[in-house]
Symmetry: D2
Subunit: 360 residues, 4 copies
């Protein structure tokens, strides 16, 4: 079918191979006459860019986004906003030996079987380079959300076995922006950095968890029955390369809890109805209830490692591989703006669907 | 928007309130001339039905499904198959006191805010009664999958803090059908039953986890980039009432693993290319790779408990509630066929999308 | 694929075979808390019903519509409104001889080839009986439009070679409701009735044209580029059985006109900008401009005639047929409420898409 | 909503303003490993290009299409094919005086009202320049159709009041490619050219009709009930700027015919079942029946004329306008490849939907 498309009213269609001419996207359904915050777009691109720290890929694209349509004199026209980003620093030679071999835990084999053809250079369209287009589109979604003061913050809550000691509510999330790991816990971050250094030296990689919080979300977002807000968020998150799991509110821990302990009692919060606890994660019956929405996303370790691995070639014969290329040690630090971007797209789309949009 | 619709080619649209006249669904896009296995449909309905065990709701619907269209002489016509199931045993009186009060961790409040109106009887459309329509539709999906010998088995892998000692591969999954808890581990099941008895006596409820395995799935199912097979499965699972999380393959555990340990090496399996381990959970780059697909789904405890709880009424005033009605002690045993049904719908839809369908 | 679905936000899904148990539909995306006007629904059903005049089919269904869901105490819940109408007066025996023969200009052959199976009784799902579900759904759309005082009137503008002498603006459209042919021109109507009498006696049938006018439509409905209002209307009209053509505004006549004559000059109409003429038919660049929207729909003669015809059987052998059954002499009189219903659905859907909905 | 998208499986999303940086499109859902015929693409662009004859706009874009993604070594990858065409010869100055005035029968007013903003230069996104992207996408659809030997030919059948004397079957359609007007009737073409010369001299414009024939279309394309092949074709055609009407087969003439005359008798055509006549236009019950599909599309005269016209400015005050710019005298000659392109997209999409695709 080709489902390179996300959203219902604000609809993002993306295209592009990692080492092709460019990657890009088309954002349809944005409100007209909205001021485009180009600084925000560039800031989000910068956050996602590698090469700033030892644990990130050394691929350093200039990432110059060119807007093709839908914007006139700095305002959206209500027509599709299309954009492309040229692929410049493509060290395709690093991938030449991969034409005839399947990298373990990569998309090489299954895509080749599905299509009978693949662009093996840099992973083609299965590359995480795709997420750059999401971050750009997500910036537009954030512009929409700004009107409602809806605020989205993602952060690293676990790398390897190092996790935060406390819940998100106990940290000052506004400070994570200046942290290399987008981690609100300075003590945990130090341990994480030490771990990453060790893993990098081994030529290995490691997984992690990102947690995301949506604050000030109005009551009533989400659509029954197959458009529940958590279902939309889960689908978006599971679209990210390397993501293995999603949980919201109490998540997997809820399975071991009793109802009397888990239920969130309703209380009167200065005139508005809210809940005393928030195991529901801000969503009840698929619809936002006005409390913080929060969820966690589990990432597997980066599949590309420099260590030697056994595998097979495209004819099924035994082969060995040590992946050169330039890869992250851990996927989560650079995925923080990606999680935020997809969350912004989902929430903004639901704002538009809910009709709240027209009420400001 | 109203997203009461699941799927792309095999498309299920559902309708109905828990205590309304009936619930039902329309299944569009089924192959024509397919023999309808009515025994399978009834068996699936029976599996989902309550009232068989002490830990299940005592609501005992006859669940007589009436097929309205799309079937002629036992064969599908290729036109929409519509069906309804009348709501008979609706003890709506049990709910009358709920018209003016918000039950903790239920959909009452957020739905009321979204629509300005709600059918409070039995939870209206937010009730898990909706899942009956999924089980019926899922039976049709299973009929499609039978042609490809694709086999789906879900089972209870955790209730409260009691979980299986081993992985699914170490159990004989074909035996779970005769287990009250759809649990392949007889020792764990005994503990689970004891726990449920204790919880029931307390007037409380408890959560759990269901694991689902898809065997013999062909290579090539799933669609990039926003139609990854895991994203479609996650969205379907997060549509189930009470579900708080989804993970596939190595899942959340992957976040603590190293790449060298997590990567699934490709090997030659008697002529076909497969993987030595299966942390990928049968999906790589969003596309099935021919190995077992497996995933787990976390359920919160049932929100309806007979214990006293604090809450507010629709005007925001403090109130107390002890929910009568007839409710499950734990959501997972009856959700097993529901998880299977949604999985079957997603996989069958992807078979149709992949074009494999036309090749038999 | 199975595209038994119309609309984007107000979405109608239909099902049912002409001589199956029932036909029906699911209307998703209606505004919540809207009062359901059951009298309007029944009036629309009555208008479409046959058996009132000599030129109509003598099939006299009671057409008792049963609402299954989405309505509580006479108000919409915002959840899907599902309904069914049982097929009672099905003279299936009339069709038994059609199992093995293809009726000229019917769907029999092409549907059989597509699906490898068909319900030949009464035309199965290809029967115009389907339009009953549209008329019911259209009544809900009219309820939505009533809030905006948007008014839709369709009428018969041609039967055979008898057509109206003047344009719609020269007639009083509010009077057509009491006319057997929904024709605003009493002189033409008399001729039409005489023609129909003659055709009926011959055992033949005849075609016609319906014109539809939408008054008081706000500026701004319709979506570029592939969602132009005229494109949506055309698609809806060409979905009606027997329709062969669609034109709006100046229509086919525009092809012979000069620009200087055809262009609609803008003028100031008491403070609002309007046009002096209306060759544009109320739509410019795909978007409504506030003038009357009007369009015409051409119908072929009813394919079922009692005259003898040559054809082939399902094995390709020569055969002869004289269709018994009970059929209309001309499709247009009973299609008038059908054209209105689909127009109402398209316009109401576009009202919802435009965001105007939220502003009342 | 923003419906800049056409198709179900082969899905075209377009973007771009006439005088913006570029226009372009994303084609998703194409078969993988298909050889891209770049000569065909360029030939189609050339056919649509203006400036070759006196009756065409003198805007002479180089129309250099740049492919961004989805193609590798001349083969499709099965991923989205994105392309852009830079806008080079944009004489935006010609439009500067249009910022504050509404051109008669243009999209200026209705778009301004809908969005509160518009790119007035060259008509912005409402310009027929958009059709260039359709022609490029249509070339890909034609590549798909070539595998099934499905052939599409459009031609000019009327300009002003000059029309062909005979039906399409009486002409050799393969010869029209070398005709300036794509007209198969040399006598009519001469008259048409004379008419165009006269109209051009007057500073006026004129309308016309294009007829399109699809030969060798397999039985079984099209989807009931709202996806009838004629409904899909009508929607596509009514998306073309300046189109006012659509009819297929007998079209509007059917309304004056009797059933006994109109019905197409089935006959045995050397082993396959066909029809003796083809008033059905190759489609019965919404599904192709294997005969030629043919339809006609009516175009209004080009709205931009150099003659003086009365109108209003954006404040509703009287104004006068004589449109400079560079415009066609008649829309139909350059629309011939556009009609073919959209037809190819619709038919190819239905081939994919029907499953026939997988059988070659």
């Amino acid at each position: 079918m080709g489902l390179n498309c996300l959203g219902n009213i604000i609809k993002l269609t993306t295209f592009g191979e990692s080492h092709g001419k460019a990657i890009g996207g088309v954002i349809d359904g944005l409100p007209a006459k909205m001021e485009v915050d180009f600084d925000l777009i560039n800031a989000e691109i910068e956050r996602r860019k590698g090469g700033k720290y030892f644990f990130e890929t050394q691929r350093k694209e200039k990432e110059a986004v060119e807007f093709i349509s839908g914007i006139c004199n700095g305002l959206t026209l209500g027509t599709p906003v299309a954009f492309i980003v040229r692929n410049v620093d493509t060290a395709s030679k690093d991938y030449e030996n991969l034409a005839n071999i399947y990298r373990p835990s990569h998309a090489d084999f299954s895509w080749q079987m599905k299509y009978g053809i693949r662009d093996y250079r840099g992973g083609g369209r299965a590359s995480a380079r795709e997420t750059l287009t999401w971050v750009i589109a997500g910036a537009f979604a954030k512009m929409v959300l700004k009107n409602y003061k809806i605020n989205i913050t993602a952060f690293v809550s676990q790398i390897g076995e190092v996790s935060l000691g406390k819940t998100y509510a106990e940290f000052n999330l506004s400070k994570i922006i200046s942290s290399p790991l987008y981690c609100p816990d300075k003590i945990a971050e130090k341990e994480m950095l030490a771990l990453l250094k060790k893993i990098a030296k081994e030529g290995d990689s490691v997984g992690g968890i990102i947690t995301c919080v949506v604050k000030n979300c109005p009551v009533g977002l989400g659509e029954p029955v197959f458009g529940k807000l958590q279902a939309q968020l889960a689908a978006a998150m599971l679209s990210i390369n390397a993501v293995k799991g999603f949980e919201y509110g109490s998540g997997f821990k809820a399975s071991a809890m009793k109802g009397s302990k888990h239920n969130d009692e309703f209380i009167n919060k200065n005139g508005r109805i809210g809940t005393a606890t928030n195991n529901s994660g801000g969503i009840q019956g698929g619809i936002s209830n006005g409390e913080d929405i929060y969820f966690s996303v589990a990432f597997k370790p980066v599949a590309s490692i420099t260590k030697n691995q056994d595998t097979v070639d495209i004819k099924g014969k035994s082969a060995h591989i040590a992946i050169k290329g330039r890869h992250d040690v851990c996927p989560v630090p650079r995925a923080v703006p990606v999680v935020e971007a997809l969350t912004a797209l989902v929430i903004a789309d639901n704002v538009m669907m809910s009709g709240i949009y027209r009420q400001i």
